[in-house]
Structure formats: structure tokens, C-alpha cells
């Protein structure tokens, strides 16, 4: 305890050669191997990595909630293993799902944590005032925690963690499931804590764009530390290797897919109207070499960013991959239907006197990739369920594939594929058994059945996993299998509900390559997502808030509408936040 009382000029946290394995179903899972790093005071350190990289395990080890297999962790001069109670008394830790007591009010939750943290009574009033104004929860102190929005819950969780100001604050994925507006507010709070109170923050996240907001970044992948340093250092290692490519007249997804497979290109993603590429070598590529046979191509160098470096580093770990070519998946018949495929007019859905969706109107053309964007509770999932014929609308009309869903939902369902947010396969069945089941469920028998299952195994590169249980697949493969299952009956319309949440960036790129290929085939794709950069893959999108349509248009339209003198080139996130804020103000005014 004497060590804890002393100031720490340099090192707050010393993690040395930490390894941790878990036993899961008789198999050993290496969660962390030989992770070492030091954390210095007064900074925001980002622990960046995709799901299952080992971020939560590392956080719990530092908080003394798990014991390492080997190695040592020193927190504020105390051993996290031996003195875990002392460590816990001196740090703040907010777990991924911070357990707020939902039956208790905001004030009662604060009181509980003040009691548990031993905050003297005379200091409480001032501390509460400060925390509530910082988190903007002052008007809600009497509200039950269960009645708060996702973003407000997260802020209350943070306030409870900070009720006694810790020297070191551990935040495990504080921004997951939080809408962009609240996400921005959380970041503002974190910066303020570091600036005003000299707190040190270790924060884990799967959002790569958040890395650039940290002073220092630890890159964790598959339980190993791939690198550490300021985010700018990661990016600057790629100086001279990143370019923006524009080919007017060519569909951006097609352009991206061609660039992905072009010689010398390591990574290609859509960014606005252009495609951003990372080259293997720091050499400006020739237009003719990149896109032989295409006319006007503009290539201009751009500044590298953190994500480029992340992809470069994890791609170096992957075994040699064959270039992904999904442009011609075999078709089992039928040609692309032209014209409008989905028509929604004044669609509403009421639950009691609460409107989950109100007066929604849009239409989607064949082969379009159409996005639905909105915070939690905006009505995206409800809209999806109505479109799939799983939930009857309360008002308005709805035509999918030319069929009125109120009259012939079953008929429409035969033509649509649906991939839900949660993993909805049979975990105890093998990959092949799952595919067989879904093929039968869609009425495929005999030869077509066998052909379709074989097609799925081959197209989705699942052949080598055919005999494995679905539960044992890595997340990216589970998601592939789920997509394959949704495609067994060769649907014309595909509904994807947050298909890429929790999947690492490489698997996400591959997933979008498949979606692009399907769209080329004339399959219409409707997708919800909370990754702003993925919206760039959409031809058009709607932005929803509290059940209403705020904006409909191409990504470029939506961004252009949000442009202002201070922000001539807003990002999709800026545009989204601007729209939501304007909507909130309108609601407050009325």
C-alpha cells in the first residue's frame, strides 16, 4: 500500500511476458501469448484489435480478475496477481457490458458505487455534480438506469467508474453499440479526464478509426502484440504507398474489385467516389498496369492512415491467399430482373402507442446495394422484419419482388434471403449438415440439392471445414457459412442485418467483395451496419432516427448535404451526426 501512495513519474503499468490459455470444450485456446508493454502516465493508450484478439482477457488480467499462466503484471507498483484487491481499490475499470443496476435510478447507482469505492460523504455532492454535468446526465438523475438509451447507459457506467477518481482507468470497448453521437461525446469526456485530471487511460476498441484518437496504440491480433507506438508512426511507415484511384464512369464497387486483384496492390477500399489503394512498394502505380483497357484513370497520392498499416501488418501474418474472385458465381437459373424490386410507401409499425417506424417511403432497384443507417432503436431491425414478412406493418404498403407482403408473404419469402444479426445456425451440426438442412428447408431435393451444397462449399471456401462443427469455426467463417445458408435457394433479394459486426477487418473486406459480386449478378442487397466506412459500399442509403427517415440518397449526396464552411469535406460520420443533431433540435423545438 505504501507503493500506491507514491506518485508515478514514469511507468503506471508494466505488463511482462503475459500468456493465458483457456480450456474450451476440451480444446486449448491461446488467448494471449508473450504480451509485454509498458504504459506511461497521462496518456490515452488504445488497445486495438478485432474481436477475439485477446483485448478483454488482457483487461481482466490487469484488473486482477484473471490469473495469468505466466508472466507478471505490475499496476501502480502493485502486483495484479498477488495484490489484486489493492489494485482494484486503486484503478477504475469499466467492463464491456458495464453492469448497471437497471432497477436502480441514476442517483442510486452512483450512491452504490460511491459506497463501494469508499468516497467520503462530504465529498460526494460536489463529485456527483461534476460527473453529471460532464456526462450530461444532470436532468436524468432520478430516472431508472434501465430506461436510459445505450449511449447514456455507457456514460453512466463511466460516471460510476469515476466516482472516486482513479489514477489509471481501464475501459473495455466503451464505444461498442454506442451511436456515433454518443461515441463522440465519450471521447470528449476521456480527453478531458486526461487533460484536466492527469488520468491515464487504457481503452480497447475494435474500431480502427478510433486508433487515431489515441496518443499511443497497442496493436493486438490473435493474442499477440503486433506493434506499439503513436498512431502516426504506424501510418508514416506506409508513406508513398497509398493512392487514390478514380475511374469516372466505372461503378465504384467494380473498380474496387478490379483494383484488389491488380498487380502490386495490397489493399483497396472504397472512399467516397474513389478507391483508396495501398501498394506493396512505395512506387506510384501506372494506370495501364492497374486497370488495363480502361480509359480515364486518375491516380493521386494520399496520406496513409492507421487502418492501412493495420491491414498491412495482419495480411503479412496470413498464409499466401489466392486473389478473391467472386465476380462470376454460377447461377442456377433466371436472369436479373430489371426495375424496382422493393417498394415501401408510408410504412408504419406501432407497438402500443409507440411508433417503431413511422411513414417510411423508399424504393430499391434491382442489383442495388441499399443501406439502412441509424443509431440503436432507430427502427432498422423493425423495418427489416416487415420487409421479410416476419412482422405485419400497422400501416402503409409494402411490395417486395412484386408481391404485396400483406397478401402473400410466403410467396415473397421464397425469393428473399435473410441473414440475421445473431449467429443463427445449428452450432452442434457440421458445416455440411447446416448447408444440407437449409437447402432442404428451402425445398431443394435430389440433384439440385447436392449441386447447391457443393457450390456453397466451393464458393465460400468451406470445403476444408465441411466436417467441422459450426460452433468451432472462427467468427469470419461462421459469418461466411451463414451467408451461404441464406443463399441456398438462390434468392433475388438479400437482407443483411449488421452482417459484419464483430468480424475482423480482413474478413470484412472479403465479405464486401462477395456482396459486390452478388450485386453484379443482379441480386439486390439491403444491409444495415454501424460501420460508417461500410456505407461507402452502398449505392444509396437511408438514414433513420426514432423510426423516421431523415435522409435518402447516395453516400455522396448525404455527405454533400452536410458540407459547411468549416467542414468542406465532411466524413460520413460527420454527416450522420449533423443529421441526427438537426433532428434532435427539431424535436426539442416542436
Amino acid at each position: 500500500m505504501t507503493a500506491a501512495a507514491q506518485p508515478f513519474p514514469g511507468i503506471l503499468l508494466d505488463v511482462s511476458h503475459i500468456s493465458k490459455t483457456f480450456l474450451s470444450g476440451g480444446r486449448k485456446l491461446q488467448a494471449l501469448s508473450e504480451v509485454s508493454f509498458k504504459l506511461s502516465a497521462g496518456r490515452v493508450t488504445g488497445l486495438i484489435g478485432p474481436d477475439a484478439a485477446g483485448k478483454t482477457t488482457l483487461m481482466r488480467l490487469i484488473a486482477g480478475l484473471l490469473l495469468p499462466d505466466s508472466g507478471s503484471i505490475t499496476v501502480l507498483g502493485m502486483d495484479a496477481t498477488r495484490d489484486s484487491l489493492a489494485v482494484q481499490s486503486n484503478i477504475g475499470y469499466m467492463p464491456q457490458h458495464f453492469g448497471l443496476y437497471e432497477d436502480l435510478s441514476v442517483q442510486e447507482n452512483l450512491d452504490l458505487y460511491a459506497d463501494l469505492q469508499g468516497v467520503p460523504r462530504e465529498q460526494r455532492a460536489a463529485r456527483y455534480r461534476e460527473l453529471m454535468s460532464m456526462t450530461g446526465l444532470t436532468p436524468f438523475t432520478r430516472r431508472l438506469a434501465g430506461r436510459l438509451s445505450g449511449g447514456m447507459k455507457q456514460k453512466l457506467g463511466l460516471a460510476c467508474t469515476l466516482v472516486r477518481p482513479p489514477r489509471l482507468l481501464l475501459l473495455d470497448e466503451p464505444t461498442v453499440g454506442v451511436d456515433p453521437v454518443s461515441r463522440r461525446e465519450l471521447w470528449a469526456i476521456i480527453y478531458r479526464l486526461v487533460r484536466d485530471q492527469g488520468m491515464s487511460v487504457l481503452l480497447s476498441t475494435a474500431y480502427l478509426d478510433e486508433a487515431e484518437r489515441c496518443h499511443q496504440v497497442l496493436l493486438l491480433y490473435a493474442g499477440r502484440l503486433l506493434g506499439e507506438g503513436p498512431p502516426a508512426d504506424f501510418a508514416s511507415a506506409l508513406n508513398g504507398r497509398t493512392f487514390s484511384v478514380q475511374a469516372p464512369g466505372m461503378n465504384k464497387r467494380l473498380l474496387q474489385q478490379r483494383l484488389r486483384r491488380a498487380p502490386g496492390v495490397l489493399d483497396a477500399v472504397i472512399q467516397g467516389e474513389a478507391v483508396r489503394i495501398v501498394m506493396h512498394q512505395p512506387l506510384a502505380p501506372e494506370a495501364a498496369a492497374l486497370l488495363p483497357g480502361s480509359g480515364l484513370t486518375r491516380i493521386s497520392p494520399i496520406a496513409p492512415r492507421f487502418e492501412d498499416s493495420f491491414i498491412t501488418r495482419i495480411q503479412a501474418l496470413q498464409p499466401e491467399k489466392t486473389p478473391m474472385d467472386f465476380l462470376q458465381p454460377p447461377r442456377t437459373g433466371g436472369t436479373a430482373t430489371a426495375g424496382v424490386v422493393i417498394e415501401v410507401e408510408n410504412l408504419s409499425r406501432r407497438f402500443g402507442d409507440f411508433y417503431a417506424v413511422r411513414n417510411l417511403s423508399f424504393s430499391v432497384g434491382a442489383g442495388e446495394v441499399f443501406g439502412l443507417l441509424g443509431a440503436n432503436g432507430a427502427g432498422k431491425t423493425t423495418t427489416f422484419r416487415m420487409l421479410c414478412g416476419l412482422l405485419p406493418p400497422s400501416g402503409g404498403s409494402l411490395r417486395v419482388a412484386g408481391v404485396d407482403l400483406r397478401l402473400a408473404a410466403a410467396q415473397a419469402r421464397a425469393r428473399i434471403g435473410y441473414m440475421s444479426q445473431k449467429f443463427s445456425l445449428y452450432e452442434a451440426l457440421t458445416v455440411k449438415q447446416n448447408l444440407d438442412f437449409f437447402a432442404s428447408a428451402y425445398g431443394l431435393t435430389g440433384k439440385p440439392h447436392g449441386q447447391r451444397v457443393a457450390w456453397a462449399l466451393e464458393q465460400f471456401e468451406l470445403s476444408s471445414y465441411a466436417g467441422d462443427n459450426a460452433s468451432s469455426l472462427p467468427l469470419g467463417f461462421k459469418q461466411r457459412l451463414q451467408l451461404a445458408a441464406a443463399l441456398m435457394h438462390d434468392p433475388r433479394i438479400l437482407f443483411l442485418d449488421e452482417p459484419t459486426s464483430g468480424v475482423d477487418p480482413l474478413a470484412r473486406r472479403e465479405f464486401w467483395a462477395r456482396i459486390s459480386a452478388m450485386s453484379e449478378q443482379g441480386i439486390t442487397v439491403l444491409v444495415t451496419t454501424h460501420f460508417m466506412e461500410e456505407v461507402e459500399y452502398c449505392d444509396r442509403l437511408v438514414i433513420m432516427a426514432s423510426g423516421e427517415l431523415l435522409k435518402l440518397g447516395t453516400p455522396e449526396d448525404i455527405k454533400a448535404a452536410a458540407a459547411s464552411r468549416e467542414h468542406p469535406q465532411p466524413s460520413m460520420e460527420d454527416a450522420f451526426i449533423a443529421l441526427i443533431e438537426a433532428h434532435e433540435q427539431m424535436r426539442m423545438a416542436s
Partner: protein, 380 residues
């Protein structure tokens, strides 16, 4: 400041915080109150009225092969009994058919030479056939019929002014439950079984709820100790469980009219010991079960079912196989059942109360200590 003093003050503050939180949760989330107070009422009503070991209004076939004054007097004795609902049949054949069809549960046959055999003795003049499908019922019917027979014989002998012609006469006197009402014996046992379920369910569920909602992880990274977390759970649910106990006793006394011969204070002291053991079992369950669904199943299977079957509340422990009898010593409800039955039906019989209370003490201590040792401030 002396860190020890600070720590003790902090411990009191933490405990108060936990207790207040638990209290608010109990008030706002009706599920705990439902378990502690509504469940005993429902279960007592269900079992108290539904489970009865008394047979009443048993449909019985009477076959009189040769009518006579004596035969008529004997069948009248059946008609007068509230235990039977006699129906006259012409011959044995039709009575047997009725028995097979389940219309009657037994047959009493008065042979043709009923009167002469009655006078001559030792041969049995009546034949009794009982449906053995429900063994318990069959024994009861048998007993009741022979009771009616015996009392009729006594009456006849009195009328005729001659001694009873039955070789051995059994004079029955039932002690401790002179009305032989099975309710008086069942309800106290039932209270023990119900309180086992409620005590174990309460703690197992509320601990699992903390795991499920992620609040446990948040609690664990505060300076709170596992001991404080456990005490914070025990105290409120002990109070709630005793509330359920009080409600059950009130129902036993006034709704079911079970007499209480022993001391009420002693009853609640023993109940407190038993409640600690039951809550301890719940805490032990919560060590393994971290979802509410699993916790309620495990609590049901490991506490309620053994208490129901092996506590001696319905099924007599003495007539179980030796291995099973040995197992019953591990069931806390067994000790509480015998304490309750003794206190309700016999009074403060110390030779029974003291050893059973000591056993409860030991079980409560073991469960709570093991639960404390098995609960770590670690997630794995």
C-alpha cells in the same frame, strides 16, 4: 489514519451500500417477493388441498348375496361412514366388472351364509377385494373396511348381550394426531420442503442475475470483498425467506387448522437455522450456475426434489432401503421436517429438537463456509 480503522469503516460503508441496493432491487423487481411470499402461498394451497393421504367418499361395491336383517344392518354401517360411498351390486360378477372399469375402488361381499358363519365363527363371513392400483389407497380402504367391520361386530355383540366372537381385539389409540388427519402431519412437512426451495432459489437466482447482467464483474473491480458480497446477499434474503416462513406458519395454523403444541419462538429459531442452511445451498449453487435458467434448474434438482422425496415428509425414511436412508442424512429438510412435525403435533420434545437443531447448525455452517471458500473474486 490507521488503515485498519479506515478499512473497517469502509467495510461498513460498502456493506450498507450493498444492502440498500439489494433492498431497492427487491422492492422494484417483484420476482424476489414473488418467490419468497407468493410461492409458499401457492404451493401450500396446491399441496395442502391437493395432496391428502386420507381417503374419503371411496366408491365401494357392496354385494349382498342373501338379504337378511344382519346384512342390512351391516350395509347401513357403511352408508353411515363418511369414508365410503357404497353402491349395491347384484352379484360378484358385475361388481368385479365395476372394479375393473374403475367405477369402484373396492368390493365388500357378504356371502350367502353370512348369518350362520357370523354366529359360528372363526371363518370370515365377508370377503374384501381392493383395487391395488394405488397401494396407499388400497391399504387405507382395507383398514377402514376392517374398522367398520369391527365396530359393527362390537355393536352387534352389545345388542345380543354376548361377548365379542373375534379372537383378538385391537384397541386403537392414536397419539399425537388423535384425529388422524393427514393434513396435520403433511402441512408442517410441506413447509420445510417449500422453504428449502425458496431459500435455495432466492440466493441462487439473485447471484446468477448479477452474473448474467454483468454487474458482478463491475462489483468485483471495486474494493468490495467476496465476504461482503455474500453477506450483502444473505441478510436481505434471510429476512425475505423468514417472511415467507411466517406466512406459511400463519396459513398452517389458521387456514389448515393445524394445531401447534410446541413453542412458536422455538419454531422460528429452528426455522432461522434451516433458512441459513437453505440460503447456503443457494449460494453453493450459484458458484456453478451463472445463468438464472441454469440456477433455477440446479436449485430445483439438488434441493427441492431431494427434500420432497427424502425428507420423510411423505415417504417414511424408516422404510427406505439402507443406502437411501444414509443419503437422507445429507438432506437438511429431513431435520427440519422432524422438528416441525414434533413442534406442531407433539410439543417441545427436546430429545428430538436438540439433535435435529444441532444437525441444522452443522449443515448451515458447512454450506456457508464451502460457498465462501468456493467464491473467488476472479472470473475463472
Amino acid at each position: 489514519m490507521n488503515p485498519d480503522v479506515q478499512n473497517r469503516g469502509g467495510s461498513r460503508m460498502r456493506l450498507r451500500g450493498l444492502l440498500r441496493k439489494e433492498f431497492l432491487q427487491i422492492i422494484r423487481d417483484p420476482s424476489s417477493i414473488a418467490i419468497a411470499l407468493a410461492m409458499p402461498v401457492i404451493l401450500l394451497l396446491l399441496f395442502g388441498y391437493g395432496v391428502s393421504l386420507d381417503a374419503k367418499h371411496v366408491p365401494l361395491a357392496l354385494v349382498v348375496e342373501q338379504p337378511s336383517a344382519e346384512a342390512a344392518s351391516f350395509t347401513a354401517a357403511f352408508n353411515a361412514s363418511e369414508y365410503f360411498n357404497p353402491q349395491a351390486y347384484q352379484d360378484m360378477r358385475s361388481a368385479e366388472l365395476a372394479l375393473m372399469a374403475g367405477r369402484v375402488d373396492g368390493i365388500v361381499r357378504l356371502r350367502g351364509n353370512f348369518v350362520s358363519r357370523l354366529v359360528r365363527g372363526p371363518d370370515a363371513p365377508i370377503q374384501v377385494v381392493v383395487s391395488g392400483m394405488n397401494a396407499n389407497n388400497a391399504r387405507l380402504i382395507e383398514g377402514y373396511v376392517s374398522g367398520v367391520w369391527r365396530s359393527w361386530l362390537t355393536q352387534q355383540a352389545g345388542l345380543a348381550g354376548r361377548p365379542l366372537a373375534v379372537p383378538v381385539s385391537v384397541e386403537q389409540r392414536v397419539w399425537f394426531n388423535s384425529a388422524v388427519r393427514s393434513k396435520d402431519f403433511l402441512v408442517p412437512g410441506l413447509i420445510a420442503v417449500i422453504m428449502t426451495l425458496i431459500g435455495a432459489m432466492l440466493t441462487a437466482l439473485v447471484m446468477a442475475r448479477e452474473w448474467e447482467r454483468g454487474t458482478m464483474e463491475a462489483l468485483m473491480v471495486t474494493p468490495v470483498s467476496m465476504r461482503e458480497i455474500l453477506i450483502g446477499k444473505l441478510v436481505p434474503y434471510f429476512a425475505l425467506g423468514m417472511g415467507g416462513m411466517a406466512l406459511s406458519v400463519i396459513m398452517a395454523l389458521w387456514l389448515f387448522g393445524v394445531p401447534l403444541h410446541g413453542s412458536l419462538l422455538l419454531l422460528f429459531l429452528c426455522a432461522a437455522l434451516f433458512m441459513l442452511a437453505a440460503l447456503g445451498m443457494g449460494l453453493l449453487v450459484s458458484v456453478v450456475a451463472r445463468s438464472q435458467f441454469v440456477a433455477s434448474l440446479v436449485a430445483l434438482v439438488t434441493t427441492f426434489l431431494p427434500a420432497f422425496l427424502l425428507s420423510g415428509f411423505i415417504f417414511d425414511v424408516g422404510s427406505m432401503p439402507h443406502v437411501v436412508q444414509a443419503i437422507t442424512y445429507l438432506i437438511a429438510a429431513r431435520y427440519f421436517v422432524s422438528i416441525l412435525q414434533t413442534l406442531f403435533l407433539a410439543g417441545n420434545v427436546w430429545v428430538i429438537i436438540i439433535p435435529n437443531a444441532l444437525a441444522l447448525c452443522a449443515m448451515a455452517a458447512v454450506f456457508l463456509l464451502v460457498a465462501r471458500r468456493r467464491s473467488h473474486k476472479r472470473l475463472q
